[in-house]
Assembly symmetry: D2
Homo-oligomer: 151 residues x 4
């Protein structure tokens, strides 16, 4: 917490409200399960409707969850009137994404005023076990003063 | 074509059949519109159900399409009994993904025996215009002899 | 050219002058061989002093050349008083960097006002042949108004 | 340590011997300061001969150090007769690399039999302080049975 002090004391409600506007999360069946300053977790129950040809969650679905976890970890540290956009990310798929629930944990690596760099790890949770399946570095931009990118 | 001669003459039917098993593509509403040796195109009509908080297609949805376009471009060049897995990819989001249809075009940059590197570009098509919205480099692995990764 | 019109008509001299201040290029033995709006080429004669453990140019040396080629391709399109910084890059090593001369060719993929995305390809030239050995996507930032980052 | 048990008990001597063959490290003035199973540290005293146009260490020089730190962290876990090659890496530059010494710390994120994914962080050490200046994800390949890639 002390490493990344939030500018906006209302960051949690603001972050959850923005996430609620990501219609794709509802479509996938994902929910935000944890938010604190510079950190965010999102969970997605496994569904065959989201799989690739071998029955694993598609790499892009894993990336969707990790990108939002990175982005909202960054968003917690932004001013109240800012929007967040992903400039780029890179993801390594480390193991097949097969199991009960995909957990994406995003953290802020370095927060600049305009550019924030985050990490996210993806875990498959299955029967009490947790397996690392993906890891991401992402670069996020803090956008202010643009009418189509707020909140 | 001559640059990347396919090993398997039946690559097109094989590639289309594998794509048809990607249940997530059906869930998103995407279809493969073009396949040739070392190239692949996938299209996705814009849907608000796939958007992030500002009403653009989520970066992860764009990544899903580009990853499959990269992966299947690589898959066309693989032996008939191989499976393809994404080791990693990196994507830059260049402009808001807003418009009528997202077109992902994947091409092979270099085909090794086990590791294939591909590029994909994403375009939003709207009212006869085409706008570059994303670009990817991806690393794919050709998998043989693993029961859970075939086709 | 028309795709990326330069803001500063003196871009070539400005770009060559900035490159001349990169002391590492002199240390490596690299020189800028071509500059036009949105494009840049840098060449480095092979030297064993720059190799990794198997006698190829080290991946980081290849990255050094491609990063500068990307960065200066972007720099050609910037205002006369701007500086360029690399936010991030990603490189794939496609073949061993062994031969006579490494040629790095950088091009601009998309030029925004603050953020520019570039590509670079690396080729080994040997006895009249050219072999693709690396490919990069990089994200550059246009810096204005910062005393320690000019030109 | 228990997370990444080394296959080869002689990994430290083998890793240091391979590093000693990287002629570029001698050219830059870098030395390996720490090796353990799945971890490696390399240090480079700041030299103006390695700077870019604003007087910071060039991004490619930082990448060179972090790539070797990643690669040798992976190499510690490989069989005694294997060679290591970098497939790709991605680096974010987080702050200007200016100071007394650049410290690169590489760790293994996931070790597969053929493909190993590592992280590296880069710190500038100056007057008793340590500042994070770069972070990398890299993908390494374990090469066996290739005459030009051993040790």
């Amino acid at each position: 917490m002390s490493e990344h002090p939030p500018i906006d004391p209302g960051f949690e409600a603001r972050t959850r409200a923005s996430f609620a506007r990501q219609q794709v999360m509802d479509t996938l069946g994902a929910r935000m399960t944890h938010v604190t300053a510079g950190e965010c977790e999102i969970e997605l129950p496994f569904r065959t409707a989201l799989t690739q040809q071998h029955g694993f969650l598609h790499a892009g679905v894993v990336a969707t969850l990790l990108d939002s976890a990175c982005g909202y970890a960054a968003f917690t540290l932004m001013p109240a009137d800012a929007g967040v956009l992903t400039i780029e990310f890179k993801i390594n798929l480390l193991a097949p994404a097969r199991g009960d629930t995909l957990l994406a944990r995003g953290t802020v690596k370095r927060a600049g005023r305009n550019v924030i760099v985050g990490n996210a790890d993806g875990y498959m949770l299955s029967g009490g076990e947790r397996r690392l399946v993906a890891t991401m570095i992402g670069t996020l931009m803090c956008i202010q003063g643009r009418a189509d990118v707020t909140g």
